[in-house]
C-alpha cells in the first residue's frame, strides 16, 4: 500500500460547489505525431514537482502519424497511480474523437476543448471551457510550421490556471524538458503557456470542482518508464552483449541501453567499447546470438514482445537443454498474433513458462514497478549465470512505456555473480571436469568458457542427447538422469528467485493474488473493498516463477483466493493449479481483464464484489 495513504477516499463524483483536491485524472485527446508529448510531460511533471503523486499513460495507435492518441495523467494524494477509468478533466483537441470522448465522460467532468468543436452542444452536464487555440497561437508563433507544436502548450496554460497548478513549476518543467540547449524553443513554448493562462484568466470562470494543492509526497522520487529502468538495470548489471530486433513495445529499452552504454561504458584510455550491441535480422538470430555470447561468457540479453517470444522458442529450448545463460525481456503486448501491438497485456506467461518443445521449464521474473525492473534485471543476469539457463523478465507495455513515479533506485549492493565457471587455474588443480555432472547436488554443473587457456577446458555443447561428459548419447538412462537433473535445478531455483510480497490480514478469509502491473490496481482495489464493501483481504504478489513455498502456505490459509491478471485465460492461475494441493484448487477464483488498457481498480473491485455476492 502506498505510504502516502492517510485517510479514506471520497468516492462520490462531487457537485460543483465541492472542491476535489489532488484527486483527478486528466485526459489529453490529440493526434498521433502532433507533438503533444512535450506538453503532456510538462503538465505531468508540474504536478509531480508540486509534490503530488502522478502517473502518465500514453494510449497510442500502431501508426506513425495521423491517428488519435490519448495521454492520461492521474494525480492522487493517496498515491494511487493505476489507471483511473473515469476521466475528470478532458482536454479535447482532436476533432475526430472529441464528440465520442465527451460523451464518455461522467457528469460533472471538466472539458477544455478547441472552440470550433462546439462540444458544449453535445451535452449539458459537463463543465465546458472553450479555447480558440488557432487564434491564440498565430500572434505568438509567426512560423507557421511550428504552430502545430506550440499550440499544445496553450492547453497547459489553460489547464494549469483552472486546476491551480503553480506556474513556476510549469516553467521549471518546461525548461527541464527542453534543456539549456533549446532555450529559444523553451521561450516560444513558455509564451504559449502564458497566452493560455491569460486567456483562461479573462474568459474562463472556474465552475468544476477539481483543484490541486502543493503537498509533499514526491520528495526523493523520480519519474521513469520501465523500459529505461530495465536498460539501467542491465547496464549496472554489467551487460556486455545486446542482440535485438525492433518490436513495439520493447524497442525503447534497447535504445535507452545504447544511450547509457555510450555514455558510461566506453573505455577511457582506448575509446573502445566494453559492450557489443547488434541489431539482428530477426528474433531468431537475436536469441541465437545471445545464446552464442552467453556460451562464450558474455552477459548477454535481448528484449522483445510476444511475436518475438514465439520465434525464440527453438533457441530457448536449446538454452535450457544445453544449459546456456541468457536474459530475455518480454515487454508483453496484446496477442495472439499481431494482436493489438500498442496495448498492454500479461499474455505470454503460460507459453513462456514452457517455451519450446519437449519438457522445458523457464524461470520468469515479474517486476511491478520501475524499481523492480532495475533490480530484477540484475537478478536475471545473476540467475541466468548461476543456473546456466535462459531467464525471462516479464514486463508489459504499461510498465515498459508509460511514466511511473518511483523511489530513486539504489546502486547495486552485491557484486556481480557469474556462477560456476572454472578457470585455467581451477583446471590445473582439478586436472579436468565433467560439464554436466551434478557435483554440488543442486542440479547445476560447472562450465568453462571457450578460449580458457588449458587443454582440459573444452567440452562439447549440443542440443542432442548427452551424458555428463557432454558426449552424444541416446541411452535412456543418460537421458533420464540428465533431464531429472534439469528438473532438480529448476526446483533449486524456487528458493533462489525473488520471494513474493505478502500481506496477511488477520480478519480476512479472502486472499488476492496478482503480479506485475496488476499491483497498482489491486492495491487500490483492496482499499475500495475494505472501505466501501467491508471486505478485508490478504494479499500475495508474485515476483517470480517458479513459485516458492510461500504460495502453497498462502493458499492453505484462505477460503477463497482471487487471482487477478491481465489476460483472458487466467494464465498464471493455470500455472498455479499445476502445483497447488488438491484441497486448495477449489479455492481459486479468477479475475481477468483483457481489453488492452492498463488495469484499473474499479474493474477489479466490481468483479470481486460480483463473485462474492456483496
Amino acid at each position: 500500500m502506498p505510504e502516502t495513504q492517510v485517510r479514506p477516499e471520497v468516492y462520490s463524483a462531487g457537485s460543483s460547489n465541492q472542491r476535489i483536491v489532488n484527486d483527478l485524472s486528466i485526459q489529453v485527446a490529440t493526434i498521433n505525431g502532433s507533438g503533444s508529448q512535450t506538453a503532456n510531460t510538462v503538465l505531468m511533471r508540474s504536478l509531480f514537482q508540486m509534490g503530488i503523486p502522478v502517473s502518465g499513460k500514453n494510449l497510442f495507435p500502431s501508426n506513425i502519424a495521423g491517428l488519435p492518441t490519448w495521454f492520461t495523467i492521474r494525480a492522487n494524494k493517496y498515491g494511487w497511480t493505476a489507471r483511473k477509468r473515469e476521466i475528470d478533466v478532458l482536454i479535447a483537441v482532436n476533432a475526430e474523437t472529441a464528440r465520442e470522448d465527451a460523451l464518455a465522460l461522467e457528469p460533472g467532468a471538466a472539458v477544455i476543448y478547441d472552440e470550433p468543436l462546439n462540444l458544449n452542444a453535445v451535452r449539458s452536464d459537463l463543465h465546458f471551457y472553450p479555447v480558440p487555440f488557432d487564434k491564440l497561437v498565430t500572434p505568438i508563433c509567426p512560423e507557421a510550421r511550428l504552430r502545430k507544436l506550440v499550440r499544445n502548450m496553450i492547453y497547459d496554460g489553460v489547464a494549469a490556471h483552472l486546476l491551480g497548478i503553480d506556474f513556476e513549476e510549469v516553467h521549471k518543467a518546461l525548461n527541464k524538458q527542453f534543456g539549456a540547449r533549446k532555450a529559444k524553443a523553451a521561450e516560444l513554448n513558455w509564451n504559449a503557456v502564458l497566452v493560455g493562462k491569460e486567456y483562461a484568466e479573462k474568459n474562463l470562470p472556474k465552475t468544476d470542482p477539481y483543484i490541486v494543492e502543493r503537498m509533499n509526497a514526491t520528495t526523493g522520487k523520480i519519474i521513469v518508464d520501465g523500459n529505461t529502468a530495465c536498460a539501467l538495470g542491465c547496464v549496472f548489471a554489467g551487460v556486455t552483449a545486446i542482440f535485438w530486433y525492433p518490436i513495439t513495445p520493447s524497442t525503447s529499452m534497447i535504445e535507452a541501453a545504447m544511450g547509457y552504454l555510450k555514455r558510461y561504458r566506453i573505455d577511457k584510455e582506448t575509446g573502445k567499447s566494453t559492450f557489443a550491441v547488434v541489431q539482428a535480422e530477426d528474433e531468431l538470430a537475436a536469441i541465437g546470438m545471445v545464446i552464442g555470447a552467453g556460451w562464450a561468457g558474455a552477459r548477454a540479453m535481448t528484449a522483445t514482445s510476444g511475436p518475438g517470444i514465439s520465434l525464440m522458442a527453438e533457441f530457448t529450448g536449446l538454452g535450457y537443454y544445453a544449459e546456456v545463460p541468457a536474459v530475455i525481456f518480454d515487454v508483453q503486448r496484446v496477442g495472439p498474433s499481431t494482436g493489438l501491438p500498442t496495448r498492454t497485456m500479461q499474455g505470454d506467461l503460460l507459453s513462456t513458462a514452457v517455451l519450446s518443445h519437449g519438457d522445458t521449464q523457464h524461470p520468469m521474473l515479474l517486476p511491478s514497478s520501475p524499481e523492480e525492473c532495475f533490480t530484477m534485471a540484475g537478478t536475471a543476469f545473476d540467475l541466468a549465470e548461476q543456473f546456466q539457463t535462459p531467464v525471462f523478465v516479464m514486463t508489459d507495455l504499461d510498465l515498459g512505456m508509460n511514466n511511473w513515479m518511483s523511489d530513486t533506485f539504489e546502486y547495486p549492493k552485491e557484486p556481480i555473480r557469474r556462477g560456476k565457471v572454472l578457470s585455467a587455474e581451477d583446471l590445473k588443480r582439478l586436472g579436468g571436469f565433467e560439464r554436466y555432472r551434478d557435483v554440488d547436488g543442486d542440479g547445476v554443473g560447472y562450465r568453462t568458457l571457450p578460449g580458457t587457456d588449458h587443454p582440459a577446458a573444452a567440452y562439447f555443447t549440443r542440443g542432442s542427447g548427452h551424458n555428463p561428459k557432454g558426449q552424444y548419447s541416446e541411452r535412456p538412462d543418460d537421458y533420464i538422469r540428465n533431464v531429472d537433473r534439469l528438473a532438480l535445478k529448476f526446483k533449486t531455483m524456487r528458493s533462489r528467485v525473488p520471494a513474493p510480497e505478502i500481506i496477511h490480514n488477520g480478519s480476512a478469509s479472502v486472499g488476492l493474488i496478482c503480479y506485475g502491473t496488476s499491483r497498482c490496481a489491486v492495491e487500490e482495489s483492496r482499499d475500495q473493498l475494505s472501505r466501501k464493501y467491508g471486505l478485508e483481504t490478504s494479499y500475495l504478489r508474485l515476483k517470480a516463477y517458479p513459485f516458492g513455498p510461500e504460495l502453497r502456505e498462502f493458499l492453505s490459509r484462505y477460503s477463497r483466493v482471487y487471482v487477478i491478471e491481465q489476460n483472458r485465460d487466467g494464465q498464471m492461475l493455470a500455472l498455479m493449479k499445476l502445483e497447488a494441493d488438491a484441497a486448495d484448487i477449489d479455492k481459486f477464483r479468477s479475475v481477468c481483464y483483457y481489453g488492452g488498457l492498463p488495469l484499473d481498480a474499479h474493474t477489479v473491485t466490481e468483479e470481486i464484489v460480483r463473485q462474492e455476492g456483496l
Binding site: K221, I222, T228, V235, F236, A237, G238, T240, A241, F243, Y260, Y264, R265, D267, T270, G271, K272, T274, F275, A276, A280, E281, L284, A285, A286, G288, M289, I291, G292, A293, G294, W295, A296, G297, A298, E314, F315, A322, T408, F409, Y411, P412, I416, L449, P450, G451, T452, D453, H454, P455, A456, A457, A458, Y459, F460, T461, R462, G463, S464, Y472
Partner: protein, 347 residues
C-alpha cells in the same frame, strides 16, 4: 652396445603439440563420406599452423555436416546448435571473445535452405570466422532429398529430377560481403589444405564451399555432386600454395605466372596460373568466372575472392581488445557517481 633401438622423436608442431591433440572422436558418418576428408584436412591444417586447439571454438547447425565438429579438435570447445542457425551462435561467440578462432561447419541444407537468412546476414557483417559448407546437394540424415544447392537437372537415386535452380553460396558470399570466398573439393587434398590454412590466417569471414560427395545418397550417375562428376568437371582457377608467416621461406616468383597475396598475419598465398589469368581481388571477375563455369557444366575451384581491407565485425563495433566475456566488474559496472548523475536527471 645397446640393444634397444632409439625411439624416433615424436613429431610436434611449432607450439610443441602432437597431431593427436588435434584429433576428434571417431566419425559416425558413412565410410568414404567427403565430410570425413574435410575433418582430416582441418586436423592437419590446425596442427601445421600451430594453433592452440583450446583457442578454437567449433560451431555447427544440424545435419551430417554439422556432426563433424565432434570429429576434429576435441580439445576445442564445440557447439552443435539448431538447424540453420550456427551463424547467429557464432556471431555471439566471437563477439563475446574476439580472441577465439571461430570455425563453423555447415551443410548445404543447413546453409542454403533453413539457414539462408542467417547465412546472408553473417556475410554482410564480415564476422571473423571460418565458415565451411560441406556441400553434397542432398539431405543425408533424412535419407536423400534434394537440397537448395542441387544443380538444375541433377537426379536423385530414385530418378527424381531437380527442376529448380541452385543457390550458389560463393556467389552470395562475394555479393554480400564475405572477404574470403573459396570453393574446393573434398577430394583435392592439396588445394583444400592451402585454402583452409589461408582462412585460418584471414581475419574476416572466410566462406569455403567444399563439394563433399555423399557416398550413400548422391554419388550415382546423374548426380552433379559425385566423386566421378567432380573429378571430370573440377576446373581449378589456379594452383594454391600457402606459406605461413612463421616459415621464413622466400618464394621465387616467375614473372607473369604467379600471384602472391599477403594475408593479415603476414603469411602468403601463392596462386600459380593454370591457363587463364585469374584475379581474386575482382568481385565482378569472380562472379563472371562462376557463371562461365556453370554454363559449361564445370565447377571452378580455388580462391574465388579475397579482400583483406574491410574491418571485421569486432573491429567495426570498436570492441575493446580484451574478451568481453571476462572483463572484470570494475569495467562493466559504471560507478556510483555515474549512477547518481542518472538518478538526478530522472528527478
Amino acid at each position: 652396445m645397446s640393444t634397444v633401438a632409439a625411439q624416433p622423436p615424436k613429431k610436434v608442431n611449432r607450439i610443441g603439440l602432437e597431431v593427436l591433440q588435434y584429433k576428434g572422436a571417431k566419425s559416425t558418418l558413412c565410410a568414404g563420406c567427403g565430410h570425413n576428408a574435410i575433418s582430416e584436412r582441418l586436423i592437419e591444417c590446425f596442427f601445421e599452423m600451430g594453433v592452440q586447439p583450446w583457442q578454437v571454438a567449433k560451431l555447427s547447425g544440424i545435419g551430417c555436416s554439422s556432426k563433424s565438429p565432434a570429429y576434429f579438435l576435441s580439445q576445442a570447445h564445440g557447439f552443435n546448435a539448431v538447424h540453420g542457425r550456427a551463424p547467429a551462435v557464432g556471431t555471439g561467440a566471437v563477439l563475446a571473445n574476439r580472441h577465439i578462432i571461430g570455425i563453423t561447419v555447415s551443410g548445404d541444407g543447413d546453409t542454403a535452405s533453413i539457414g539462408l537468412g542467417q547465412f546472408c546476414h553473417m556475410l554482410r557483417r564480415n564476422i571473423p570466422m571460418i565458415y565451411i559448407i560441406e556441400n553434397n546437394g542432398v539431405y543425408g540424415l533424412t535419407k536423400g532429398q534434394f537440397s537448395a544447392t542441387a544443380d538444375l537437372g541433377a537426379t536423385l537415386k530414385t530418378g527424381v529430377v531437380n527442376d529448380l535452380p541452385p543457390m550458389d553460396c560463393c556467389l552470395l558470399g562475394i555479393e554480400l560481403g564475405a572477404t574470403f570466398v573459396a570453393r574446393s573439393f573434398s577430394g583435392d587434398k592439396r588445394q583444400l589444405s592451402a585454402i583452409l590454412k589461408a582462412a585460418i590466417a584471414h581475419k574476416g569471414l572466410s566462406v569455403i564451399d567444399v563439394i563433399s560427395p555423399c557416398v550413400t545418397f548422391n554419388d550415382h550417375e546423374g548426380s552433379t555432386k559425385s566423386y566421378t562428376y567432380m573429378k571430370e568437371h573440377d576446373e581449378p582457377l589456379h594452383a594454391v600454395d600457402f606459406v605461413p608467416a612463421f616459415e621464413d621461406i622466400s618464394v621465387e616468383i616467375e614473372e607473369g605466372t604467379v600471384r602472391e597475396i599477403t594475408l593479415h598475419d603476414g603469411s602468403k598465398l601463392i596462386l600459380k596460373k593454370l591457363g587463364k589469368d585469374y584475379d581474386p581481388t575482382s568481385k565482378l571477375g569472380a562472379i563472371q568466372a562462376i557463371h562461365d563455369a556453370g554454363e559449361s557444366g564445370h565447377v571452378v575451384t580455388g580462391l574465388l575472392y579475397l579482400d583483406t581491407k574491410p574491418p571485421n565485425f569486432a573491429d567495426l563495433l570498436h570492441l575493446v581488445d580484451e574478451p568481453l566475456a571476462t572483463l572484470p566488474e570494475s569495467r562493466t559496472r559504471p560507478s556510483r557517481e555515474a549512477f547518481d548523475e542518472i538518478m538526478d536527471e530522472l528527478r
